[in-house]
Symmetry: C2
Subunit: 308 residues, 2 copies
């Protein structure tokens, strides 16, 4: 089998990390950059990682997808607030059998991209990682780092296996998972913690150490689980919520990406992390009143600026 | 009929205003004071009011209810966070036929006091007023000022009428209302706005001008109305929620008492404004998920100090 060609759209905390790991292991990776383009072209990419630091020189960096070669695999690490950009960014990269992996948070991401590109082969990438872009061309990887791939619309199972093999070969803990179950399982953690750390200006540990918000987080997790069950998705029950609580108990105090976005006055990913799952659940009769209230609070905070 | 003797417990924004109005009209009013006792004894009470300023000299001021005469009517303007103090404050003031009027916000206030004093004659006072104590012995009355009296456990209807007559005679817009309906109608406004202005650190006008929080406030009002209906209380429906929205639209931007308590680091009245009505509704099968979430957020903010 020929070696796969990779394109990374959104070379930040997520796309930058996984793309750099693949390139560092010798894979053929082309990076789309925006504000960091000049810096990375001259100085390369730097990854400070709990698994060992490394640097990439002579990065295949681009400022425009029209200048990039077509790819076998496109890894999308874009913030979902910029999802609409994929309509113009993707076409130059696509061959008939290109697989696009959306390494993003939320529900409904693949459905939207599929509606724009009906024949595209799509997969979800569920990243379990604490990382941040701390300077131009510099990704800081604090802990974790595994990725789960869920096949959304790729008929070629072998291609999914080849991507997984490349990730594993590059030192990344990667597994295949069932698409819908995986997206909703991630939502069980993401929906409570992303918004609540913004709404109460706090971190995961303090939400769990206060009995009132600990109970609220659990109730919100159960809203996601009931919604997933109503949508016919199996594999999620009360024990999964308990597992997520316990996992978060032993994590270091953590500010999820939405809290960082809010603090740095970047747009928050409210549409795909809240509005879409709430709408999808409502279509099958499952209400999520606490998470809908959280969505409304986040809209207020986003519309009316900072908390003052 | 003999002239009624009044005692005021909690001479602040509410008790201070109504007590001073009665005294200014010539009624016999005795005031319990705490931190302002010395000031009021020497300088009297001052009311700066949208209806005209006035001052009371030679106020009948006390630092201890044991020094006060027994009263025909006790007006309680205490913060409900200090409700337990009534167990020791009230007995020296009580005759067999004393009526105690709780001019406080929340649900369950009368039931608790009744459980401590099974034979006491109780009424609720629902104050519609914007006022604040801005300095020792100084109440600033910005607008509104009416009071509704709901009879809870006073068999002597004439006594309630006599109290209403004294209020009206003192220039106060006062009406008799049905107890349970009145308490729950007030909760329709209090439960959304008190907590939401704390949780989002804002005022009534901004909550209503953002479409997301406007919808949330309406949903929270409907939770209160459904709870009241489940408890068998009539007179509340969707049109009442709409009326409360429209009334608040034309109010000046307003910080409810809980927002002021939070900002000045005083305890918030979470128990009687949130926990009690939520518990009472649950007992008849009515859940209030959004208001319960708000209660949990408020407990977090109270437990963990200020917002950051």
């Amino acid at each position: 089998m020929n070696e796969l060609t990779y394109a990374v759209i959104g070379t930040g905390a997520i796309g930058g990390y996984y793309g750099a790991k693949l390139a560092h292991a010798g894979h053929n990776v082309h990076f789309l950059l925006h504000s960091d383009y000049e810096h990375v072209r001259q100085h390369g990419l730097k990854v400070s990682s709990c698994d060992g630091d490394f640097e990439l020189q002579n990065v295949q960096a681009y400022a425009d997808t029209h200048a990039m070669p077509q790819a076998d695999v496109v890894l999308v690490g874009l913030k979902s607030t910029n999802q609409h950009l994929l309509r113009s960014l993707l076409p130059p990269l696509l061959k008939d059998d290109t697989v696009v992996v959306l390494i993003q948070n939320g529900i409904g991401l693949e459905a939207d991209v599929q509606s724009w590109f009906p024949h595209l082969r799509l997969a979800a990438g569920l990243a379990f990682i604490c990382s941040a872009k701390t300077a131009p061309g510099h990704v800081r990887h604090q802990c974790y780092g595994s990725i789960n791939i869920g096949n959304y619309s790729c008929p070629d199972k072998e291609r999914i296996n080849a991507i997984l093999a490349d990730f594993i070969d590059s030192g990344i803990d990667a597994h295949e998972v069932e698409y819908a179950e995986a997206r909703w399982k991630k939502a069980v953690w993401n929906m409570p913690f992303n918004g609540m750390t913004v709404a109460l200006h706090t971190q995961t540990d303090r939400l769990l150490s206060c009995p009132s918000t600990r109970q609220l987080i659990y109730e919100q997790m159960m809203e996601v689980i009931h919604a997933a069950n109503a949508l016919g998705i199996e594999g999620l029950d009360e024990s999964f919520a308990q597992k997520m609580m316990e996992m978060t108990d032993v994590m270091v105090p953590y500010s999820p990406s939405m809290r960082l976005d809010f603090d740095f006055r970047r747009p928050m990913e409210i549409d795909y992390i809240y509005t879409r799952p709430i709408d999808e659940a409502r279509r099958v009769g499952a209400e999520m009143p606490r998470l809908q209230m959280l969505e409304r609070e986040l809209r207020f905070l986003e519309n009316s600026g900072q908390r003052d």
